[in-house]
Symmetry: C2
Subunit: 123 residues, 2 copies
């Protein structure tokens, strides 16, 4: 599969899972996974999903503006860089965000998220 | 050195070089380095610096808002994620940008940029 198409498919899967079934994100992380969310560092699939499900908004919708990807040089890993808008339920204006993922292939032919850094741009 | 302090020092060095002596960035890239600049993919130190020095603005000033970093899991590599403002000479409003770097240690005890993805947020 073309890396750009793969990155785009991952990103669409990630945000649609985030917006409809946030606990379902657990399957995309492993014990060594790291999330930096607005500067807060969290490690491990369980802690990451606990963080994401305890954010102070229950309903949201991500829309993707750009997806860029590059091979990370590590075991078939892929860096994916996203910019987009995050619409929170009940809020008039969407927030801009940017986020990067480092995806690592699994023996099952899928990918998991080793690195995840998220920032709101407050635009 | 603490990874966060190292990431911050790299970022300050990178943008002060960009703003004062853009050709000096050549030393931070190698032949295998990749830049994705607003969706355009460029490979190799020479091509990357040719791109950066031919941007349609000669004078600019980056100011950094946030710097996040994580180990990339590759040979002591480090992922650095930056958000900030880019002020172009003669323009009234600064542009928001976000950028990620994948830094790899060199045998000389320094780092080079293997991956670089840059996006303006048009805010």
């Amino acid at each position: 599969m073309d890396p750009d198409a793969l990155a785009k498919a991952f990103v669409e899967h990630y945000y649609s899972t985030f917006d409809t079934n946030r606990t379902g994100l657990a399957g995309l992380y492993q014990d060594g996974s790291m999330l930096t969310f607005e500067g807060q560092k969290i490690q491990g699939a369980q802690n990451i999903v606990a963080k994401l499900t305890s954010l102070p908004f229950q309903q949201c919708q991500h829309s993707i503006t750009t997806v860029d990807c590059q091979p990370s040089g590590v075991n078939g890993g892929m860096l994916v860089f996203v910019s987009g808008n995050l619409q929170l339920a009940g809020e008039q204006h969407a927030l801009k965000f940017s986020q990067m993922f480092h995806l690592i292939p699994t023996p099952q032919g899928s990918y998991y998220v080793l690195n995840d850094i998220f920032r709101l741009n407050y635009a």
